[in-house]
Assembly symmetry: C2
Homo-oligomer: 301 residues x 2
């Protein structure tokens, strides 16, 4: 295992970023962390990492930085904004850009960083908070082989599986976008199917068991329908995440003049759920847009 | 294993019905078979079964009949039409109605058969031709416990899993309908996702491998996308089957004044594929409605 890189920054300490920071600490790396929420930074410091006051301060101390903020705008800000990281990284450092962004943003980012002598890995992630915490998430990655070589140890520490999808930024974000299209459509379809089953008087638990073992199943059906059955909409991933991610997919397709009938329908469903006040709930709350049915009640403790 | 029933009829010898007939023969049952295609009937006879010239003739020789025709209209015809089976079955015989039909048709059929002293199992099937041939298909079943008791051996011979969903016809067809909704949406979504990946210049094989192992996967994605990658649209299940099945779901929901945004969008996609001349091709040919992309070519032999 290559350990050329010893010191790694993590910018963005949400569910995924916090897991990455923990996995890097477990892997023996020196971890510098930044987030606008000070309590998240303190948590990493308490676990043996170092708190940074800004992306710029962080950048001066690391050889690679994992950017796990929410979207392209935040990626732009933490890299190029006031006290941004990019201008403060040493030449030859690696930026692993892991937010879900459009492929064109990823390509453009790669060119700008290359112009500053930096290497970029277009590396969106998948797998959820639990896999991030255990260092087993999936990375859909593309970028310069030199960047991958330098980050071999880093990637091993944070990911169970790294798909190498090309030698420059772009393909990583394309495949992530396609994955998010399917994930969003499948969650909305799971809601639609369970709503219909309940409308028809079928037993929701029985329906779930049959379909989870039949040709109608999906990873998301198996993962999200139990939230509906439990009446528990505590957000593991929120409705508004798919308002955003399907929005990215649709914006990109629109620029390419490419129709996406199912993604646009699913996006409308998440928008409706958000407009009805469920934007901060678990994404399975998209089932709440279906009228005239009684969903399983949450268990009281 | 109960073997009270010794002689079983199979009406409808398509991919699923032929597999059921073969499984029953392997299970030691006396099998009487009817289909409008004489060559299919002859195939069962050659394997040790008996050819019937009509559902009526068949009905006089069996204690249970599995109806595996295409839809409600054909079910109606083979049971109640000219030379139909129902009037010729002995009282107490069991009709296993396995076509995909609306729940209201299943309920109504159960009442009509009960009025003739016959037992009905509302038993739509899932699993595809290969599972039918090996006696391992899934049955989503509801009906009178007496019918299940009589058919215990029959069901064991033809199904790997029998879900008992209620004591009268209806719930079996509800769950099958919900399964078909998801299956149809997932196939159309798989097409949409692969089309977008190709439009974005991603490698189709790599995209498939990543997504099949990620949160965007579905049973149908894993099963159907290989057809697209191979450029092989030989129909295992045709586009027109989902024109029909999603049509059943949508008609039923419309009568219940219940919106199904994704099912209706997917139905439009299958209708478009059919209108473009692909109705008889494999249902994965729904990917062909996306313009301006070059799909993987079929391998020449």
């Amino acid at each position: 295992m290559s350990k050329d890189i010893h010191s790694v920054g993590v910018i963005g300490l949400g569910a995924m970023g916090m897991g990455v920071a923990q996995s890097l600490l477990r892997g023996g790396f020196e971890v510098h962390a930044f987030d606008i929420r000070r309590e998240a930074v303190d948590k990493v410091a308490a676990a043996g990492g170092y708190a940074a006051d800004s992306p710029a301060v962080l950048a001066k101390k690391v050889d690679a930085v994992v950017v796990l903020v929410i979207n392209a705008d935040q990626t732009e800000t933490v890299l190029f904004g006031e006290n941004g990281a990019a201008a403060n990284l040493a030449p030859g450092s690696v930026v692993i850009a892991s937010a879900t962004v459009s492929p064109e943003f990823a390509r453009s980012l790669g060119k700008r960083l290359a112009g500053m002598g930096l290497l970029m890995i277009d590396g969106p992630v998948s797998g959820g908070a639990a896999k991030a915490a255990s260092g087993e998430m999936t990375i859909m990655a593309s970028g310069a082989p030199e960047g991958f070589a330098k980050c071999e140890g880093v990637l091993k520490a944070i990911a169970g599986k790294v798909y190498r999808l090309g030698d420059e930024p772009g393909p990583g974000s394309v495949v992530k976008m396609v994955n998010q299209l399917l994930a969003g459509v499948h969650i909305a379809a799971a809601g639609e199917a369970m709503a219909l089953a309940i409308r028809c008087g079928a037993d929701p638990d029985q329906t779930y068991e049959v379909i989870a073992n039949s040709a109608g199943s999906s990873w998301m059906f198996q993962n999200r329908v139990p939230h509906i059955l439990a009446g528990d909409y505590t957000p593991l991933s929120a409705v508004n995440i798919f308002v955003k991610d399907l929005g990215i997919v649709l914006d990109y397709a629109k620029k390419s003049v490419f129709p996406l009938p199912l993604a646009s329908t699913a996006h409308q469903m998440f928008l409706q759920a958000s407009a009805e006040g469920h934007g901060g709930e678990d994404d399975s709350a998209v089932v709440k847009i279906f009228p005239g049915i009684v969903l399983p009640a949450g268990k009281r403790t």
